[in-house]
Amino acid sequence: MNRPILSAFAAAAFLFPFTLSGQQAASSPPQESASPSSSDYVSRAEYDKLKSEHDSMKQELDALKAAVRQMANGTVPAAAREARPPAEAKEVGSAKESQTAAPSTASATTSEELTGPLATHDFSIVGDAEVQFGKFFHQHGAFMLADFAPIFLFRGGDNILFEAGFDFILQNNAPASDGYTTTVNLSFATLDYIINDYVMFVGGNMLLPLGTYSERSAGWLNKFPDAPLPRDVLPGNGVGVQLRGAIPIGNQGPSVTYSLFVDNGVSSIDGTGNADQLDLGGNVGLTSDGRFANLHGGAGWGGRVAIFWPWKPTYDVEIGVSGMSSPWDNRARRQYSAAVADWAIHVGPYIEVKGEYMNTWVGTDDHGTIDPDGWWIQAGYKLGGLKLNVPYLDKLELVGRYDTIDDGLGSRPERGTFGAVYYLTNTLWLEGDYEFVNNHGPNRLPDYGLLFQVSYGF
């Protein structure tokens, strides 16, 4: 009975020295004079060297952090302080790449990255450019438009901003005259002041918040080369002041937005209140010949309230109502009023549908009160949503639009547009559309047309 136990003790006594030496090998640091078979291990000298480098890098990083903090408390602008964490992260990366770099050199690099030349940080140029080709019913096909529309942005501080948008447009001269003309228009120029989290002041030549189109109509925002017809019954700009802001609803993205404005209002071309003399271009002050003719003393006022309700990224609904009122003839006896409903919906990154309905009431000398109105709706579907993984198709978006306008004087064209947008990049597009018009009334639009446009946003 005891024989197996004795055998086990004998085996244990035989194996003990080997077991002990194995434990020692596993627990003790590697020996400098390691045999060739243990060359996979780190030697004591290598271990010490790595530890020393690690300590050195740690000290260097602490010095960098201290330098950044010092600069942030001193000369670095507030906005740059906000960007400190990523800048520190970049510095850590560069420190790893060049372990021997002196701390002073690294600090100088950090300073340059964080602050940079103020002029280039505070002043930016963005904008868009378009080239358009068109072929309309009973007309020759031609390159119709070359438009360069830079927007100059300046940030005077954290709360003071200035922006001015221009349009440099190339136009063929009128029949019976030669050459071409380059026109320069000031699309908008506003001084913005962020008063607090809920109120922002905007003053100057403003894009009016009547619907959403005028604020979102740049060539690389609009998926069609031309504007919806009924936008002709609304002014796009106004010179005046505006208060606007947004109030978040919860912390999941929804918000209510508002805009309230007072401006010079709309005016009359010849000063009378005749229906065909309404000038939505504005009642801006002095006329170009230096006189005060063609002006009224009244003011226009209006605003927009909207709700934006996303339920997850790229899935959202926006619904808004807006309106304005202004006298328009020189004697300020005739009133122009407008009401607009707008909405937009995104169903994932591939589907967008949006539209506007607008109605206006215009008091006139010769036709009583007329009510020009109209509406438009457009939809787009990016073929990438089909997950076909076909390189060219994935970058294509099919678009369609229906728009109609009633000018209140008997003309009511309806237009359908079908086309496609090809995204070369996220800001460089090729657009192609076929438009067809069903005319009613005396003022006729071309029955059909083909439009192609290259749009670039920068």
Partner: protein, 121 residues
């Protein structure tokens, strides 16, 4: 003349088709909005369910800058990637965008942090 008559009849039919499509799209949008809204605020069958829903809403984590960027920027245009501008340029451009797009301050701050963190050089 015959050709123009054909074009006119084709144009008339096409406009009718566009009008029909517009109506269909409008109906589809109304349905989608309704479904989206109902998905956002589930019906409260009982008081207990309502309390559970309320608690879940209160505990929802605030959205990140990246999520808010995806939500807001693509509403009007193809979203610009953070790396397309430097941090300094974003500071100027995005403050203007806050005014133009009427963004809530809290959301704008998160988006700006996200853009500047991933800004190009």
């Amino acid at each position: 003349m015959g050709m123009f008559k054909r074009i006119n009849s084709f144009t008339g039919a096409s406009v009718q088709l566009a009008r029909l499509l517009a109506s269909v799209i409008t109906v589809a949008v109304v349905v989608t909005i309704t479904l989206g809204a109902s998905g956002q605020t589930p019906k409260s069958i009982s008081k207990k369910t309502e309390e559970t829903t309320t608690t879940a809403t209160v505990k929802a984590e605030p959205l990140s800058g990246a999520q808010l960027w995806a939500m807001n920027c693509s509403r009007c245009h193809m979203a610009r990637n953070p790396g397309e501008f430097t941090a300094g340029q974003w500071r100027t451009i995005f403050r203007h965008m806050r005014v133009r797009a009427n963004l809530p301050a809290s959301q704008a701050k998160e988006i700006q942090k996200y853009l500047e963190a991933g800004a190009g050089k």
